[in-house]
C-alpha cells in the first residue's frame, strides 16, 4: 500500500486503537468500514463516480468490513453501495441513502459511513429500540424528577430569603452568595483539612450559621439601627453579593471544582428515571430539613415568635418578644439552610464562585411566586419554579429554560398579585 498502515479495531463500543498514521497529505481517498451492530459486513460492493458521473473506482469490503477507493484529486464524489450485494438479513438503515455525495479535501482521506441494520429480505429494517413515545414519556418522568431535585434546592435557599424579608423587610441580593459561601466552607473542610464530606457538611452548616449570625450582629443590625432605608439596604446587599462573589473568585479561582467524595457517580435506574445515589440522599436531606423548619415555625415558641415578628414587629415587640434576637436567629438559620443548599448543589453539580448567583434568580422567582414573606409560600413557589424550569424544556429549547420559569412568575402575579400563598395585605 502506498499509504501508511492504519489499523483499528472497533467492535461493540470497544475502543479504537490507532497504531500509526502520519497518513494525511499523501493523496486523497474515500474509505469506510461496514458494520451491522458491531459485526463487520464483508463482500459488499461499493462504487465511486466523480461528480459528473465518470466512474472512478470500485471496492469490495473485506473480512474486517473495510473498503477504500483511491480518487485522483480533491473534489466532490458520489459513493454508491450496491444493495444487492448485502448479505441476507442486512439492509441499509436508510434505504434512500444508498448513494452519498461526498466532498474530498486536498491531501486528506475521507470516511464514508453507510448505516446498516438487520432486516428481512423485503428490506424493512427492524427498529433497534422501543420507539418514540416511550422515550418521550421517559424524558417527561426524568424532567419531573429533575424539577423536584432543583426545586428542593431552590426551596432551601428561598426559605432564608423569605424569612429575612418577612422579619426585616430586607430583600437580600447576597443570598445567592450565602449558598456559595456555605459550599466553599465545606470545600475547605473537605479538601484542605481532608474531612469526609459527611463530616464536613454539618460543620460547614454550623460555620455558615455563625457567619449569618455575625452578618446580622455586626452589619445588618447596626445598619437597621441607624435607620438606613430599605432600598439603600437592598442596594448594599447587591454590593455585598459582589464582594463575596469576587472574594471567592480571588480565594478559589474561577474554575469548577468538585468535592473529594461522590464525584461523577454512575447512574442508577429507578423506574423510568435515572438518578445517582448522591442525588437521592441529597433530596432526602433537603426534604427532612424543609419539614423540620416547617414544623419548627408552626409549633415551637421560637417559630411562633418568628412568625409574630414577621406579621408585625412593633406589636411583637410590645408583647414581649425580643425582636432583635429573633432576627439574629432568623439570619443564622437562613444562612445555615442556604449553606446546606449550596453544599447539596455542589455535591450534585459542582462548585463554582458563580453557583449561587446562577440560582439566585430562581430563588427570587420562587419567593415571589409563593408570596413574599411567607415561608411555606417560598417552599411551594420554589417547587413550582423548579418543575417548570425543567419540564418546560419539552416545548422550548433548553437554553431558554429560565425564561419559562419567569414567564410563569409573571402570569401568576398578574392573576394573583400576592403570590400563591400570600395574603392580600390590609391597607390603612
Amino acid at each position: 500500500m502506498r499509504r501508511a498502515v492504519i489499523a483499528f479495531t472497533a467492535f461493540l463500543g470497544a475502543l479504537f486503537i490507532l497504531l500509526a498514521s502520519p497518513a494525511w497529505a499523501e493523496g486523497e481517498s474515500l474509505r469506510g468500514t461496514l458494520q451491522n451492530q458491531g459485526q463487520p459486513v464483508n463482500g459488499v460492493k461499493i462504487s465511486v463516480t466523480s461528480g459528473d458521473g465518470q466512474p472512478v473506482g470500485e471496492a469490495t469490503s473485506g473480512a474486517d468490513g473495510k473498503w477504500e477507493v483511491q480518487v485522483p484529486a480533491a473534489g466532490s464524489y458520489k459513493v454508491t453501495l450496491d444493495q444487492a450485494t448485502l448479505p441476507a438479513g442486512t439492509v441499509l438503515k436508510f434505504k434512500d441513502r444508498a448513494t452519498l455525495s461526498v466532498q474530498v479535501f486536498e491531501g486528506n482521506y475521507r470516511n464514508v459511513l453507510f448505516a446498516l441494520a438487520s432486516g428481512d429480505a423485503a428490506g424493512v429494517a427492524t427498529p433497534p429500540d422501543g420507539g418514540g413515545s416511550s422515550a418521550f414519556w421517559t424524558r417527561v418522568a426524568q424532567l419531573a424528577f429533575e424539577g423536584l431535585s432543583l426545586g428542593l434546592i431552590i426551596a432551601l435557599g428561598a426559605l432564608g430569603i423569605s424569612l429575612i424579608f418577612g422579619t426585616t423587610g430586607l430583600t437580600n441580593f447576597a443570598h445567592g452568595e450565602l449558598l456559595t459561601v456555605g459550599a466553599f466552607i465545606a470545600f475547605v473542610l473537605n479538601s484542605t483539612f481532608g474531612l469526609h464530606l459527611l463530616i464536613a457538611t454539618p460543620l460547614a452548616v454550623i460555620v455558615a450559621a455563625g457567619f449569618g449570625y455575625g452578618q446580622e450582629r455586626f452589619f445588618w443590625g447596626p445598619l437597621r439601627n441607624r435607620k438606613t432605608g430599605l432600598v439603600s439596604m437592598m442596594i448594599i446587599s447587591i454590593g455585598v453579593a459582589m464582594f463575596l462573589r469576587y472574594l471567592l473568585l480571588f480565594l478559589f479561582g474561577g474554575e469548577n471544582v468538585p468535592y473529594e467524595q461522590y464525584v461523577a457517580q454512575d447512574g442508577i435506574k429507578l423506574g423510568p428515571v435515572f438518578t445517582t445515589p448522591k442525588s437521592l440522599i441529597a433530596m432526602g436531606i433537603e426534604i427532612a430539613v424543609l419539614i423540620a423548619v416547617g414544623l419548627a415555625l408552626t409549633f415551637t415558641r421560637l417559630g411562633k415568635a418568628t412568625r409574630a415578628v414577621s406579621d408585625n414587629p412593633a406589636l411583637a415587640a410590645s408583647s414581649g418578644i425580643n425582636v432583635d434576637r429573633i432576627i439574629r436567629i432568623v439570619w443564622a438559620m437562613g444562612t445555615a439552610v442556604a449553606g446546606l443548599a449550596g453544599i447539596m448543589l455542589g455535591t450534585t453539580q459542582i462548585l463554582n464562585f458563580q453557583m449561587g448567583q446562577q440560582v439566585l434568580l430562581l430563588m427570587f422567582a420562587g419567593v415571589t411566586l409563593g408570596g413574599l414573606g411567607t415561608a411555606f409560600g417560598a417552599l411551594v413557589g420554589s417547587l413550582v419554579v423548579g418543575m417548570f424550569v425543567q419540564i418546560s424544556t419539552i416545548w422550548i429549547p433548553p437554553e431558554l429554560k429560565t425564561v419559562g420559569a419567569l414567564a410563569v412568575l409573571i402570569l401568576v402575579l398578574l392573576v394573583r398579585p400576592q403570590g400563591i400563598l400570600g395574603r392580600r395585605e390590609r391597607i390603612g
Binding site: 463500543g13 468500514t33 466532498q103 479535501f105 486536498e106 426524568q142 431535585s149 441580593f173 474554575e255 398579585p417
Partner: protein, 429 residues
Amino acid sequence: MIRIAPFGRVLAVAAAASLALTACGGGEETASPASSAPAAPASSAPAAAAGDGVLTVGALLPQTGDLAFLGPPEFAGVKLAVKEINEAGGVLGKPVVEIDTDSGDTKTDIASQSVDKLLQQNTDVVIGAASSGVSKTVIDKITNAGVVHFSPANTSPEFTTYADKGLYFRTAPSDVLQGRVLGDLIVQDGSDTVAILNRQDSYGNGLADEVEKSVSGGGGEIVVKTAYDPAAADFSADVAKIKEANPKAIALIAFNETTKIIPELKKQGLGPDKVKIYFVDGNLADYSKDFPKGTLEGIKGTLPGAKAPDDFRQKLLSVDPALTDWSYAPESYDATVLSALAAEAAKSDAGTAVASKLIDVSKGGEKCTDFAACLALLKEGKDIDYDGLSGPVEFSDAGDPSEATIGIYQYDAENKYANITYLSGKVAG
C-alpha cells in the same frame, strides 16, 4: 409598620429590575489583573496610532472564567516570546513591553474593562482572547482604536468574514477545519446517529455547524443538536433531550462546564462506557484532579495545533514552572513573535503598520523559525517567511492561517489525554 402593601410590591419590582442590572454588570473590578511588566515609561508619548517607538503587547487572556485552564499556557507562550525578543535586542531597538490582563469569560464584563486599560497604556497589539465569544465583544473596540487584535485561540468561523478593518488575525485555524476532522473521526468510528451538545455562543454554534456538516456529509445522521446556556444551574434537561434521541455518539462542544455535564451524562446512562463521546479544543484538558479514575476513559477529542516540541515545553516551564497543559502555547508564542517581526518589517510599532506587514512576514520569502534569525534577515533587507511552532503560519488575506494541523487525542484511565495522531489540512477546501 413596614408591611405597607404597595411598598412590598415596589420592592419586588425593584428587586427584579436590579437583579437584571447585576446580572448584566456582574463582573466589576475584582480579579484585578496584575500587570507583570511596568507600564511603558514613555506613556506620555504620542497616541498609539502614530506609534510611540515601543511595541506594547497586551495579553488579553483568561485568568478567570470558563477557559481559565487555557490561561497559563497562553500567558507562558506570550511571556516566553517577549523574553526571547528582548534577549535578541527587542523591536526597533527597544524592549517589547508586555501587559497582562484578564479576559474573563462571556458571563462577565471583565474583557471590555481590560481592553480599556490596555488601550490607555498605548497597546499596539492585543494578544487574545481565548474565547471566540469574548473576542467578539471586544473586537470592535480594539480595531476601532487602530490596534491589532491577534488571537491565539479563536476558532469561530465568523471571524474570517468579520469587518475587522484588516486588523484581526489569529494563529488558530478556523473551526471549519476542526469541525471537518471531528466529523470525519465520528464517521470513522462508525456512529450513524450523533448528538451535538454545544455552548450557545459564537464558538459553540460555529463548531457545531461544521461538525454537523461533516457528519451528515459522510453518511452519519445528527439526531439532535442542542445548544445550552453556559450559566445554567444544571444541565439535566439538556441531557434528557439528548437521551430521548438515543444517539450512538455525542460531540460535546463545551468549556469548563464539561465538569458538570459529564457527571450528568453518566447519571442518565450516557457515560463514555455507553456511548462514544468526543471533546473539542474548548474542553480537552487534564481532568485527573476533577474526576475519579476511569471516568473519561475512551473519550476522544480534537485540538488544533501541532505537537509542542519538548525543548519548547522546557522553555515554557522556565517561564511558568506550574504549567501542566500546553494548549495554545505555541499559537500564543507565534502570535507575539509575528507581531514583533511585522513591527520590525514596518519600522513602526503602530497597530495599523503592524497589521499591514503581518501577512507579509508569514509567507513568501526566506524561511526562518525564530525571532533572532528572522530579525537578522529583515535587517539584511530580505523578505521573510516565519514558520512557527504552531505550524507554517501562512496567513490568508482574511488573517486566518490557511493550513493547520489538528491533533486527535484520547483519554486514558487517569483522565489525562494523549495524542493518537496529527492530521494536517488546508482550511479552504
